[in-house]
């Protein structure tokens, strides 16, 4: 065996210090004594609760993408947009790099993250590893910081204030859906998904 039983040891990713793992109490966070980085935190949420949150996030995500975000009015004319309106507009305005960035960080990556989590947790609920567990867990890890819905909410706020000087601005339901999505993302930020590796051990057939 090349692995010294995964439950026994813990290595700080930020400074390489080795620790003996000990069970954490509810809500407890283990931090590195050398560099202060977080080592591990206790999972307060059950798989079912996480699955419910993921489903909620998916519904809210669909709404956030279908409903218009903001409407502007200028002398009787109105103009509103959705996220895809933004992506298409940037593509047409010769800012294709920005268009791709927006599509990836606000649509494709968050969508992938939710679908991956939903898939993994659905099987995890029954204590099983989902088909493709290993590559999907790796993919989930790689997605890391590349989802930026919460930055977009702040961006929309700034855009509203900027536009307010010249136009009549109405906030549309899409922005509220985005705000709700941000809240859900914040809840998920506190969950250490790596625990799925330990929670769902490989079945030796």
């Amino acid at each position: 065996m090349g692995t010294s039983s995964p439950e026994a040891l813990l290595i700080c990713e930020h400074c390489d210090t080795v620790y003996r793992r000990r069970p954490l109490a509810r809500g407890e966070v283990a931090t590195c004594a050398r560099c202060g980085a977080e080592l591990e935190r206790h999972h307060a949420m059950s798989t079912n609760a996480m699955l419910a949150l993921i489903l909620t996030s998916m519904i809210v995500f669909v709404q956030a993408n279908m409903w218009p975000i903001v409407t502007l009015g200028l002398s009787g004319q109105h103009s509103s947009t959705t996220l895809w309106g933004v992506i298409i507009a940037m593509w047409q305005e010769q800012a294709k790099v920005v268009s791709v960035l927006v599509a990836a960080t606000l649509f494709f990556f968050p969508l992938m993250k939710m679908l991956l989590l939903g898939w993994l947790l659905w099987f995890g609920k029954a204590g099983r590893r989902a088909p493709g567990f290993v590559p999907l867990m790796v993919a989930l890890h790689r997605l890391g910081p590349w989802t930026m819905s919460e930055v977009f909410v702040l961006g929309a706020l700034v855009a509203i204030v900027k536009a307010h000087t010249y136009f009549d601005v109405t906030a549309d339901p899409g922005i509220y859906a985005y705000a709700a999505l941000t809240l859900l993302i914040t809840i998920f930020a506190g969950v250490d998904l790596r625990q799925l590796w330990d929670d769902l051990p490989e079945r030796t057939a």
Binding site: T17, L72, V138
Partner: protein, 217 residues
């Protein structure tokens, strides 16, 4: 702090993808090596095991310099054009902040200033400092430097704010001749700056901070 053993001294490697603690096993197809030049794979997730991120100094420097080169046109060139019937106004990042401060709300101006100017500058200075001090094996302010790195990682992606603002305004303000917003090349350079600085901070290995000569005293 000799009571705190380091993985590098114990012949252990933590998988950076799944966190599994692995031990070097001579003769094992996947776990024979020192994790520096040879290919070792994590038995649990299959990712390459490495003691330290590969070529961390070179990669981080390269990405950081590239990001800085992009940051210059991002600030000099206008990022957005506002055109109305008889008036064309080109905005740079900083003029957008000033406009918010004067016409809109000073608090949002502070937020945009932080996201677009302070955060990128902080990343250049912080990562530059970390690279230089870690290379020297400096034992100066170790804990603070470790904290600085975590801060850079945490706030990095918020710089995308201005890019999203321009994108949203472009899509919204389309009143034919009456009023029109167009993105200008500055915003592309700025978007690239953000992506490159994020890649730079990801390729820096914070463990290098602690690899100096006298970190174990």
């Amino acid at each position: 702090m000799s009571a705190l053993p380091r993985a590098v001294d114990l012949g252990l490697i933590a998988c950076t993808t799944c966190g599994l603690v692995c031990r070097n096993v001579p003769g094992h197809p996947q776990l024979d090596g020192d994790g520096i030049d040879d290919a070792m794979a994590c038995p649990r997730c299959g990712s390459t095991l490495r003691r330290r991120k590969p070529d961390s100094y070179a990669r981080t420097w390269a990405l950081l310099i590239a990001a800085f080169l992009m940051y210059i046109p991002a600030n000099v060139l206008p990022i957005m054009r506002t055109a109305s019937l008889n008036d064309i106004d080109d905005n740079t990042i900083i003029s957008g902040v000033v406009e918010l401060w004067v016409k809109g709300s000073p608090d949002l101006a502070v937020i945009v200033f932080t996201a677009s100017i302070v955060v990128p500058m902080l990343k250049f200075l912080a990562l530059g400092t970390l690279l230089v001090t870690a290379r020297r094996g400096s034992s100066w302010a170790l804990v603070q430097r470790a904290r600085l790195y975590r801060l850079v990682e945490l706030i990095g992606y918020w710089s995308m704010l201005d890019v999203f603002v321009v994108a949203l305004l472009t899509a919204l303000v389309r009143f034919s001749v009456l009023s029109l917003v167009e993105p200008l090349p500055g915003v592309i350079f700025f978007g690239l700056t953000v992506v490159l600085t994020m890649l730079a901070s990801m390729s820096f290995d914070p463990r290098l901070i602690w690899d100096g000569k006298d970190t174990d005293d």
